[in-house]
Symmetry: C2
Subunit: 385 residues, 2 copies
Amino acid sequence: MPTVLPPDSVGLVIPQTLAFDEPLELDSGKTLPRYDLVVETYGELNADRSNAVLICHALSGDHHAAGYHGMEDRKPGWWDSAIGPGKPIDTTRFFVVCLNNLGGCRGSTGPTSVNPDTGRVYGPDFPIITVADWVRSQERLMHRLGIGQWAAVIGGSLGGMQVMQWAIGFPKLLRHAAVIAAAPRLSAQNIAFNEVARQAIFADPDFHDGHYQEHGTLPRKGLMLARMLGHITYLSDDAMRAKFGRELRAGKINFGFDVEFQVESYLRYQGASFVDRFDANTYLLMTKALDYFDPAGEFGHDLSKAFAATEADFLVVSFTTDWRFSPARSREIVKALLDVNKHVSYAEIESSHGHDAFLVPIPDYMNVFRAYMGRVAAEFTKGEA
Amino acid sequence: MPTVLPPDSVGLVIPQTLAFDEPLELDSGKTLPRYDLVVETYGELNADRSNAVLICHALSGDHHAAGYHGMEDRKPGWWDSAIGPGKPIDTTRFFVVCLNNLGGCRGSTGPTSVNPDTGRVYGPDFPIITVADWVRSQERLMHRLGIGQWAAVIGGSLGGMQVMQWAIGFPKLLRHAAVIAAAPRLSAQNIAFNEVARQAIFADPDFHDGHYQEHGTLPRKGLMLARMLGHITYLSDDAMRAKFGRELRAGKINFGFDVEFQVESYLRYQGASFVDRFDANTYLLMTKALDYFDPAGEFGHDLSKAFAATEADFLVVSFTTDWRFSPARSREIVKALLDVNKHVSYAEIESSHGHDAFLVPIPDYMNVFRAYMGRVAAEFTKGEA
């Protein structure tokens, strides 16, 4: 609990809820008749509205990317390491927009919202959402906020997929695209992990085919298993070795099935605490958005062709021990961009943190990110000098 | 179904059950008052009893390593690729012994057996078994079979751990030790996967704290999840890409949670079929045996010291895309052996099959294995010439 907020924090922030009454047609063929998006903004929009950046969140993220909601908060927003005064996404220069995506469970319309057609909670009837659907909803948000073009769209992991989709779907609406710890599509192994996570949720008798809210239950065990598995893929083998090794919680083997190794304790804690703050139907939707993302698919599986009409400059960042979306996956993106003569800066950051590295303020990473964002800012501050 | 058995098969084999009435003290401090071991043997023991080799099985293996139980069998034993006339473990030269380990579910005493103390099925009350316990029970089996020294003890994965334990625990009772696709201990990541598998089984309401047999249920979903997860770690990312890629089962996305990608279909099939042939309590025991194995632990975490008193020559084999027990883990074993001046042959086999490679007849692997076993056989056939 900060008694005084850190000087490089965006400080206390208040989320806003924006209502959209125009129906949104989805890739699935279904339509959302209306929806809310919960949004946080940091910094100020400049006079010519040229300094806005959009932050896209990953699987379990939300609109609360930086700062604090109250003085009693134990932790700041999920990307506070990168967003704030003097940080890579410098809020003294940028107007930063972050939203909870559709299908989410932190205030934007999703499975826990009431379906206006039925008056009942959507639950499992909430339509499956794609990355392109999110980007279309974000484009409406952009216009609502009076922004004509993003200085940059930025995201890590599933957020990086949204960034690519922005560049492909709305080439003129962003000047820079920062794709961090992402991949141009999931591999079979990535899909396999998602599938086991989904089956764990489905197998929980408290899931009730997704209608757990009506049954007054929560698929705690299933969601916990899904999250435990997720954490294994977010951390590297090395990071786990450094963090836990084979350390025993009680100092000795107890020949039973209670927690023995520290890594078991960590996973159970991460799994159990996730259940209190996340919705299982949302988790399922997020895994499907990941599985389906494949922008090259419409272009004969040629990623270069998918990028051919993009106009943004790209920053692509990967992390050496990320085995969820390895550097090789980022290099596919870089190669595809170069093949069609796009401007791309690429950094492969040495790190032991696995996929989680994109949330960690690793000095080399922060320096690269800060330098790139400085270049983005220089473009709109030129005229002001 | 073979209408004629292949010429390089050991043919039809009949398992034998051997009863051991002397109590076995276990590492946990508990005692098994009596136990059965189910055994298969292939080939013939020579006059001076010098040609016996022991095959140790891995997590889901059993005594049926080669040949067929009946003409209607769809598949031969689990290591038929390596055991038979003319194969690396050549049954025209070796007398091959394979057993179902204690705690197993294929006939040897385990959780599905009746506890003689209570007259009821052991279920979750079956004691936790360690790799060293297995090796002690295998040493008794050896004497029962009239074998004074193994020409070789051979195993892959968890089987390779038993081989190391043999060399450390009974240095004079084996001349060669073949450790394939193994590791000197589990990493935190390995333990983490085991823990998620265990929690999946525990979370199944049909598990009934392990007393599912009395309840007339089976924790099908939990065991299925555990096995699905296992399969992800047995296959490499590359192997999955080659085998499934992002291929869709119905040719198109259906925006739902039924099977869409081929890899999902594969995992569900593997998981579902495992449930029909494996016991969940046994699965739990096997994961604990894996977690606990750490021969260096008693030697100040110095693996070289653990190997210092071994007398066997070693063959160590690893596979390039095995990420469950990567080549680096095998090289730890090799280095520790070399540090204490042991004879060790090491082969790192190029393969896309991940951990599963140890069961696949990859030509380079088979050649190395055959050459090494030829050397083993030359030692006892010398006198016969």
